[in-house]
């Protein structure tokens, strides 16, 4: 029996290792080691090490990178691509994953790299303030919008089941919350009333998937009457032949997705970013469902500007909003989830 017992403890330790690895990886990040060698874009300068959040993968691989290679600046430049959850990608770069060009879903993911010295402090000192694409928070519906939803308030008034990602695991889900909150404020509600509106909508969410993609998966799989998601995700779903429609509410938030080059990136990375901001680059983004940041290129028939479009700057920017709303202990959304949990428990 001693054999079985030693075998048992050995294997159970292996199972525990799963947990160990999660936290161990976290510790490496916690130490904030920035590996200078790893962070460099390489002396060749012909290779762009791209690290980005997961949704624009198709846009890069099938649209933007081949088009860049056609330009004079991009001739002969090769890419190594890494896609994943925005926060994970940012933490990986902080911990030493080589990166020349980065593109994230949230500004705070770039700020993390500014704090670690890997991205220059003046990354926003350009025409588009460091933002490479826009989108809007939209409401994805079943085909033909059978419930006739037009605004976030409709979700409450019509008592619909809603799918929106968990704001603590999905950085992107925070855009959704701020869209609901902002629309309520613009509707004349006080901050407290607006939080109640957010709370009401969350209480109608039978599932809060871990990421925006999981949420789309859950919705397509039959969960909920409506899904709150980025317009570009809705367009991507339609392009992938998913049977969904979407509505852009009159009052919603403009999503701003930032991009930057690292301090020791090769010139080709800077060239690539310049290309993404060029008219040609912006048009490719638009084909992929993203709103161009160059307003003159926005095609109003495909991307109608919401009547009452607001930005995160109205609430003090992401640094402030992250603290005020999404801090896991003191944030008002943590408080809202807690109240919801307590009221339904038992």
């Amino acid at each position: 029996m001693s054999l079985s017992s030693s075998n048992k403890s050995k294997r159970s330790i292996q199972a525990l290792l799963l947990l160990a690895l999660i936290a161990f990886g976290a510790i490496v990040v916690g130490c904030g080691s920035s590996d200078d060698d790893g962070g460099s874009g390489g002396s060749g300068g012909d290779k762009v090490q791209l690290v980005a959040y997961s949704t624009p993968q198709t846009a890069y691989e099938e649209g933007l990178e081949p088009a860049f290679n056609e330009t004079d600046a991009g001739k002969g430049v090769s890419f190594s691509n890494s896609f994943g959850a925005s926060g994970d990608q940012s933490r990986a770069v902080e911990a030493g994953q080589p990166a020349g060009y980065v593109n994230f879903a949230l500004e705070t993911d770039v700020t993390r790299l500014v704090d670690s010295g890997q991205v220059s402090k003046d990354w926003q000192d350009n025409k588009y303030k460091g933002i490479v694409t826009n989108s809007v928070v939209s409401i994805v519906t079943r085909p033909g919008n059978p419930e006739g939803v037009k605004s976030f308030q409709d979700i409450i008034d019509k008592d619909l089941e809603v799918v929106t990602p968990n704001p603590f695991t999905s950085g992107g889900a925070r855009w959704n919350i701020m869209a609901i909150y902002g629309a309520a404020i613009h509707d004349g509600q006080t901050p407290d009333q607006a939080l109640d509106t957010v709370k009401q909508i969350l209480s109608q969410a039978p599932v809060q998937p871990a990421s925006a993609r999981d949420a789309l998966q859950a919705f397509v799989g039959g969960a909920g009457d409506v899904l709150i998601s980025y317009e570009n995700e809705a367009i991507a779903a339609q392009n992938a032949d998913q049977d969904v429609d979407y509505v852009v509410p009159d009052s919603t938030i403009l999503i701003e997705q930032p991009a930057a080059v690292t301090v020791d990136a090769p010139k080709s990375a800077t060239d690539f970013l310049d290309f993404l901001w060029s008219d040609e680059g912006q048009k490719i983004w638009a084909e992929q469902g993203y709103r161009p940041v160059n307003k003159s290129l926005v095609d109003e028939s495909k991307f109608p500007t919401p009547k009452d479009e607001f930005t995160i700057a109205e609430f003090g920017g992401w640094d402030k909003v992250a603290d005020e709303f999404f801090d896991d202990k003191t944030g008002s959304i943590a408080e809202v989830e807690k109240e919801l949990g307590v009221s339904t428990e038992g």
Binding site: S12, L18, L19, G30, N166, D328, K338, G341, V342
Partner: protein, 249 residues
């Protein structure tokens, strides 16, 4: 050997523990006692306990059938048992969602409920008890059972006094492994559990949220609690095994 164990197991475990307590015990306690963490831990532990209880019974039954019965396709069934290990857990989650979600072909809609957590955990932990009990059953001397029968013992009594004590260490070992695995499971749950804080959010998803919120200490702290719960059960299982050992002699 010692170096290997240190690098692979001891060092990471020590690193988690030191990270969890890096800001002092007060911070650790704040992290693990905040209501959302408590709710997630409670859900995880309760679901895991239900899962291992079902596993203990069903796993033993499956092992019994695989060892004692002959039927066509037994070899195939025997190899299917391990598939939950081979399948990437996220694929398991997706499959379970299709089978037991809104469009379930069996009309079972368990998605995004606590029942879904239990189903997903049952799936990924199935092999543990089966594989721990099987070798014991194979090596079990059937003469003991025959002797007991000839002495007039009924089937229930034979099971209670001969078979079960011999299998108990295996069941206990399988249960312990299954429990440890269930506590930490993430991939198989992430699509099918609702992830709604306080309701269907398990500890691993909560930890994911802590990491996403850059609260590494909080993530490590909750991990340490999961480790401690596992350790406690392992110690308990050791006791049961000693009890089993006494009956064997």
């Amino acid at each position: 050997m010692v170096t290997y164990l240190s690098l692979i197991v001891l060092l990471p475990l020590a690193a988690i523990a030191s990270k969890a307590f890096s800001d002092g015990f007060g911070t650790f306690w704040d992290a693990v006692s905040q209501p959302q963490a408590v709710a997630a831990l409670k859900l995880t532990v309760i679901c895991s306990l239900i899962v291992v209880a079902i596993n203990a019974v069903m796993g033993t039954l499956i092992a019994w059938v695989l060892v004692r019965d002959e039927f066509p396709g037994k070899g195939i069934v025997n190899s299917v048992i391990d598939l939950p290990f081979a399948l990437p857990t996220i694929v398991a989650s997706l499959t379970l969602l299709t089978l037991y979600g809104k469009d379930s072909p069996f009309g079972i809609d368990a998605a995004y409920t606590k029942a879904a957590v239990v189903i997903a955990l049952l799936f990924v932990t199935l092999p543990f008890v089966v594989r721990a009990v099987q070798p014991l059953l194979l090596s079990l001397d059937r003469d003991m059972e025959s002797a007991a029968e000839s002495l007039g013992a009924g089937r229930a009594r034979i099971f209670r006094q001969i078979v079960f004590p011999n299998l108990a260490p295996g069941i206990a070992a399988g249960v312990a492994l299954a429990f440890a695995r269930a506590l930490g499971e993430f991939g198989a749950l992430v699509l099918i559990s609702g992830n709604v804080p306080y309701k269907t959010e398990v500890a691993s998803v909560f930890i994911r949220g802590q990491i996403e919120s850059d609260n590494i200490v909080g993530a490590a702290a909750v991990s340490v609690v999961l480790l401690a719960v596992s350790m406690t059960l392992l110690a308990f299982v050791n006791l049961i095994q000693k009890w089993g050992l006494r009956h064997e002699r």
